[in-house]
Structure formats: C-alpha cells, structure tokens
C-alpha cells in the first residue's frame, strides 16, 4: 500500500557500507513514504545506527543510491539533508544541556528559518518563533518545563525534548533512534503517545529495542541482521516468523 513507485519520500536502494573488510551494511533497500510508520529492529551490532548515519549523512555509503522525492541526496552534507527535510533524534540524549527547554526548541526553529547567521535582535523576542515553541511544549506536555535547564528534567522528559527538537525542523522524514532507550517502563507510554501524536503525513522510521513500543506504533517492521535485511512485514507477520523469534524476539520473550 505504501510501495507504489511514485518517487515520493525517501528511497534507499542497494546500500552498502564497509570499513576495510568489515561489512556493516549489505544491500539494504527500503522506502519511506509520507504517512509511513516503519520500525527497524535487530540485535545489537546489526547495523541499525550505521544505517541511520548513512541516511543522515554522517557516513557516506560505499555503494548504493539514496534519493528523496526522486532527488539524489548523496552529495548533500548532514546540514543539507536536514534542510531537504530529513530529521533525526539521537539514541543517547543529545540536547543542549546547559540551556533551557525553550532555548533547545528555539534553536532548531531559528535554524529552519535560516536565522542563526543573524547577529542582531534578541533570539527570544520573535513572536512567531515563541508561538511555535509554545505549541511544541504543549504538544509534548512540557508546558511547565519551558524555563528549566534540560539537565534538570526527568529522563523521559528529556527524550520528549529530543523528539520535539527534531519536529521543530518540520521534517518530512523523521528517524527516531531508540526513542525509549533508557526510559523507565513507567514513562514509556509517554513516548508511545508522543509518537502516535506525530503529524499524519510525516514519514517515520523508528529504530527500537522495546518490542512493546514497536508493536504499538509501527505498521511495518524491518528486521536487520548482520547489516542485511532479513525480512520485512506487518507486526503480526514479524512476530509469527520463526527466524525472527529465534534471532531476536526469543531473547526478550522466551
């Protein structure tokens, strides 16, 4: 249903990456179309983070193509790909830790508006920007936290700021790198809720260990093993696949 070849969205074809003799991505192909909620799962060392880095431009692929709305994005820098509409969050919370929550949200908004080269006028006095910050705070239930320095927030809330920052870029493709990593299970529903509330037309790829979360929010699951795609299917198909049970789910649900 999302596989129609309209050329819309992010398309990865035959992606390979090796460091010397070590192959970390092997012939990976996948599509992310507007509205998709796909999850990428796999055991530790399967190459999930490498895959994120290849898409976002931290690493360059050894071979294969990367197109976004039909346009080759391989020549684009990290910043260039963000401007094109691909945003990410980090597995290990990567916030501006000495700043307030508001400043953490202001920066991506200002950057999206192309204003961070501007050396005059206060950064915190633009009504449109402030309104957007307020909207994000409300959406992620952080309305009371705006003035706090992010390092004082509970970890689950920091994960929400992490996501809000990426959303502030108004991306069309969002890669969530283990959004619930390190979050106590009591706060994990907050994350699921936040993902469910993401804009409908956004294409989302969730890289996650927490199977409960994956089954709750994704409608397609891709299983990555040793740098290659083992299988792709609906949550029902994946949980019924004996290879997946052996390889991955067994360890958690056995």
């Amino acid at each position: 249903m999302t596989g129609v070849a309209t050329g819309k969205g992010l398309e990865v074809r035959g992606l390979n990456k090796s460091f010397g003799g070590l192959v970390v991505a092997r012939d990976i192909s996948l599509r992310l179309a507007p509205g998709d909620r796909k999850a990428l799962i796999g055991p530790n060392g399967a190459g999930k983070s490498t895959f994120t880095n290849l898409i976002t431009g931290v690493l360059q692929p050894s071979s294969g193509t990367l197109t976004f709305d039909g346009r080759d994005i391989r020549p684009l820098s990290e910043a260039g790909r963000v401007k094109a509409g691909i945003a990410r969050t980090f597995q290990i919370t990567n916030l501006f830790k000495t700043m307030t929550v508001r400043d953490n949200l202001r920066l991506p908004i200002l950057e999206r508006l192309g204003r961070t080269a501007r050396g005059f006028r206060r950064a915190d006095r633009d009504a449109a920007v402030e309104a957007e910050v307020d909207a994000l705070l409300t959406q992620f239930r952080l309305a009371d936290m705006g003035g706090r320095v992010v390092s004082q927030l509970a970890y689950g809330q920091q994960r929400l700021v992490e996501m809000a920052m990426a959303l502030a870029l108004k991306p069309r493709v969002l890669i969530l790198d283990e959004p619930a990593a390190g979050v106590p299970s009591s706060e994990s529903p907050l994350i699921a809720e936040a993902i469910a509330a993401l804009p409908q037309d956004l294409a989302v790829l969730i890289i996650e260990h927490d199977m409960n979360l994956v089954f709750k929010v994704a409608n397609r699951i891709i299983v990555l093993v040793a740098g290659a795609i083992l299988t792709e299917g609906t949550p029902a198909e994946i949980s019924a696949d004996p290879r997946v049970r052996d390889l991955y789910l067994g360890a958690h649900h056995g």
Binding site: A79, L95, T98, T116, G119
Partner: protein, 313 residues
C-alpha cells in the same frame, strides 16, 4: 535590566578608578585593554567552546598592523584601530580555516603554533618591524582631531574605556542574538547542531574571526597607548594569562571577563610590588582557591554564597 545595571556599574567603576588612581593611569589603561582582549577569548572559549592558547596571534597582528600604519601611513588613532581590527580578523579568518578542523588538544596546540609562527615572521622582517628592538615611532594624533593624548594618560584611559564599552555593547547584542544562541549550541553539542542543519564549521569560523577582530582592536590600542610594539605581543604568556583571567572571573558571561581581568591584574600589580620574587605564588594561590571554591568563577560567587547560607535550614 540586569545588563543595564551591569553597564552602569562598569561606567561607575571606570570613573571611580580615574579619580582614585590619577597617577596609575598607564596601568589602569593596560587593564582596560586586557579586558577587551579577554572578552575576545570569552566569545570563542566561553560561548563557542573553541579551545585556544594562541589568542596573542590576533592581538600581536593588530598591534603590529596599527603600529606600522601609524609609522608609515597615518597617526589617526581610530583609523589605526580599524587597521588593527582588520589585521586581527584577517589572521583569525585564515588560520581558522585550519584550526576549526581540529578539536580539543590538537586545536589548542595549533593555536599556540600560529602565534609562534607569527612571532618568527615578525622577527625575520626586523628591518620592517624593528625585530627584538621593537617598533617605535608611533605617536598618535588627536582623536578625531580634537582630543590630544596627554602625558599623564587621561585621554588614553578614557579612549580605552570608550572602546571597551563599545566592544561590550557589541558582544552583548551578538551573544543574545540567534547567532549567539547557535554558538552556545555548538559548545554544548556540535553533533546536535549538525543534526538540526547548522553549518557548524562556518559558524565556528565566523566566531573565531569576530573574536580576532576584537583581539586585533586590543592589540592596536596597546600599540597606541604604549607607543611601542615589541615581539612580546605574540607571547604565549599573554594568551595563557588571559585564559586564567577568564577562568577567574567566569566563562561565557562577558562580565566575568571584566571582573577576572581587573582582579588578576590588580593582585599581580600589588603582589609584584610587595614581593618581586614570589608574587607568582600569590596569583597561583588565588586561582587555586577560586577554581576549588567557585568553579563558576568569581561571577558565580553570589550564587555560591547564597547556597552556603541556605544550607543550615
């Protein structure tokens, strides 16, 4: 509001100093110039997280450029400042193309290397720069053709304070702007800045160049107020001491640069006159005490004291 209070206190302190130490204006002018220099370091070290021990490269180039300009072209002070600013900014821009590709300790070492290379260049072209004898023949004309430099140094002091105020206002505006916020973002997490689409390298180069312009202005002021430029403008010690002053006062808050410089240089002056051999011990003890008791620098002292007072309850 806080900033207005800060500026008012700053002007007040400058006026009190002017009348309280009428015979030490050469020294107080040096303090003011040093404040400008330390501010230039705060922009890159305190706000952007760029490690440096070679800020003297820009200070020295500003001093030589202003000196040579005075000797060969024009003795007009403000023109000299502009030339010094240009030289500092130019050196900073060119060297940043290499420096900003490095990080941490490598970056630190490279900044030292740039200053040392420039010192050698100045030494090699001694016919032009005066080499180890220094460059003389600087004799600033009246400022804007109106205020002539007097031998007590009254005009020189007021001139330096005016430049410091201008630099301070400029940096206040810059650091509260979106650009300033982006610099703090780069300090906190360059990886995150790249992930929100910021060209981190370009922002770092811009910050380093602006910082170089300010350091160049400080150097030019020094050349004009002492009427001499020697090879010591490129000294490692100058860069290192400036960092200590910054840490003493508190980094990343501008006011800390001013307080740290004033205290460091005053203690230095007094201690060196009391005991010319062991004054370094006093400075060392002071820095140790501050770093140990108030890691935020002296600017963090009120907050630290409040915390101490509140603790018993």
């Amino acid at each position: 509001m806080r900033d207005i209070t800060g500026f008012a206190l700053m002007v007040l302190a400058a006026i009190v100093t002017f009348y309280a130490f009428p015979y030490s204006l050469a020294f107080t002018t040096r303090v003011v110039i040093m404040m400008i220099f330390v501010l230039s370091i705060d922009l890159i070290q305190g706000y952007t997280g760029i490690a440096t021990l070679g800020q003297a490269a820009m200070y020295g180039s500003g001093a030589y450029a202003a000196g040579l300009f005075a000797v060969h072209v024009s003795q007009a002070p403000l023109l000299g400042l502009a030339v010094g600013a240009l030289a500092g900014g130019g050196i900073a821009f060119v060297s940043s193309l290499v420096l900003m590709r490095a990080e941490g300790l490598t970056q630190l070492m490279l900044t030292i290397a740039v200053a040392e290379v420039l010192r050698e260049v100045a030494n090699k072209f001694s016919a032009f720069t005066g080499g180890s004898d220094g460059l003389s023949g600087i004799s600033p004309a009246p400022i804007l053709g109106i205020w002539d430099f007097d031998f007590v140094g009254k005009v020189g002091y007021i001139y330096a304070v005016a430049v410091l105020l201008a630099v301070m206002v400029f940096l206040k505006v810059l650091t509260s702007s979106p650009f300033g916020l982006a610099l703090q973002g780069i300090k906190d997490s360059p990886a995150r800045m790249r992930a929100i689409g910021t060209p981190v390298m370009r922002r770092r180069i811009a910050a380093y160049t602006i910082s170089g312009v300010i350091a160049g202005i400080a150097g030019a002021l020094a050349a004009q107020s002492t009427a001499l430029v020697s090879l010591s403008v490129y000294d490692f010690q100058l860069s290192a001491e400036a960092i200590i002053m910054l840490i003493l006062g508190g980094t990343g808050r501008l006011w800390g640069a001013l307080i740290g410089t004033a205290i460091f240089m005053s203690v230095h002056e007094v201690a060196a006159s009391v005991d010319p051999f062991n004054w370094l011990f006093i400075i060392g003890a002071l820095v140790l005490a501050v770093v140990y008791a108030v890691p935020q620098g002296l600017l963090g002292l009120p907050a630290e004291l409040r915390r101490l007072v509140r603790r018993p309850q």
